[in-house]
């Protein structure tokens, strides 16, 4: 028998209604899987677009998990524009949980805010009014009339490398995302 499903005495299929908590956990579990794939893609040194794509998808699902928790699923729109606003809120929230000694450092919150903004823009639906057509999934036409292919593009606005200035913040962002997703998945 499928979880939450069964039959009544007269053979009519009945189903437990899905709750917000079911969806919160589901989005969080999928986000954790996205993060695991992001790690595998880094280890395999695949093209940056794929690494960023899984990071973007994980971020979006964690934010969705958070929003359903706060507002209920019925009040959460099916859009991609959550990450820039919600990830820094999640960061502050998780760094100020009981038992923690330190608030999130200012530099780190700024770096996470910047990364969250850039990660949000990776979704093809978030092209900022065609000002930012670059995205991690589909080819686009650049300002010189050339076709750009994600797997051949360097995405200079999102530094996910270990040698760049954002590396330290990226480590902390990923750890934060895992922490939040595991918390919401419970």
């Amino acid at each position: 028998m499928v979880d939450g499903a069964g039959t009544s005495g007269v053979g009519v299929l009945w189903r437990m209604p899905l709750t917000d908590q079911d969806w919160i956990r589901a989005f969080a579990r999928q986000a954790l899987s996205d993060l695991r794939v992001r790690d595998l893609l880094q280890q395999a040194n695949v093209e940056k677009c794929h690494r960023l794509h899984f990071l973007q998808m994980a971020a979006e699902k964690i934010c969705k998990s958070h929003l359903i928790r706060e507002n209920g699923r019925g009040n959460v729109q099916n859009v991609h524009t959550y990450t820039a606003k919600i990830l820094p809120i999640i960061a502050r929230q998780f760094y100020s949980r009981p038992g923690r000694k330190a608030a999130i450092p200012h530099w780190e919150l700024s770096a996470i805010r910047h990364l969250a903004y850039e990660i949000e823009k990776l979704a093809p639906a978030c092209d900022a009014g065609d000002l930012r057509p670059d995205n991690s999934e589909y080819p686009w036409e650049d300002s010189r009339g050339q076709v750009c292919v994600p797997c051949e593009y360097n995405f200079p606005s999102v530094d996910d490398g270990i040698g760049g200035k954002s590396a330290k913040a990226m480590v902390d962002l990923i750890r934060l995302m895992r922490e939040a997703a595991e918390h919401y998945a419970k």
């Binding site: 790690d39 595998l40 880094q42 280890q43 395999a44 040194n45 695949v46 690494r51 998780f94 760094y95 923690r100 000694k101 330190a102 608030a103 999130i104 450092p105 530099w107 780190e108 996910d160 490398g161 270990i162 040698g163 760049g164 200035k165 590396a167 330290k168 990226m170 480590v171 902390d172 990923i174 750890r175 934060l176 895992r178 922490e179």
Partner: protein, 107 residues
């Protein structure tokens, strides 16, 4: 650039950008001759979320002078004390991955 030197440069960079970094320890084995084996850094960071031994992987980044894949394991000072103890769960978790603490990288 050799792995050890690359590790030192990374550690210096992380000390410089994050004042909360207290110590950076190179995790063994380094396997200097095998470029596929990642550099593994154990970073002790004040105020970090305590999540145990949780590696974050990075591909090599030759454009920024890093020719090897890198793994960062960030822990709190309290967790570091636990790892430094003779027997602890965190130390076991590290050893299960076949890693052990090597030299400390200077600021």
């Amino acid at each position: 650039m050799a792995k050890l030197q690359t590790a030192s440069e990374l550690a210096k960079g992380h000390f410089a950008i994050d004042p909360s970094v207290r110590r950076v320890i190179l995790l063994e084995p380094v396997k200097e001759d095998d470029p596929e084996v990642p550099i593994k850094l154990l970073e002790v960071v004040e105020g970090t979320i305590e999540r145990g031994i949780e590696p974050v992987s990075f591909a090599s980044d030759p454009a920024n002078g890093v020719d090897y894949p890198v793994v960062i394991v960030e822990i709190s000072p309290r967790e570091f004390e636990e790892i430094a103890a003779e027997s602890s769960q965190l130390r076991e978790d590290l050893e299960k991955r076949g890693w052990w603490m090597g030299q400390e990288l200077a600021v």
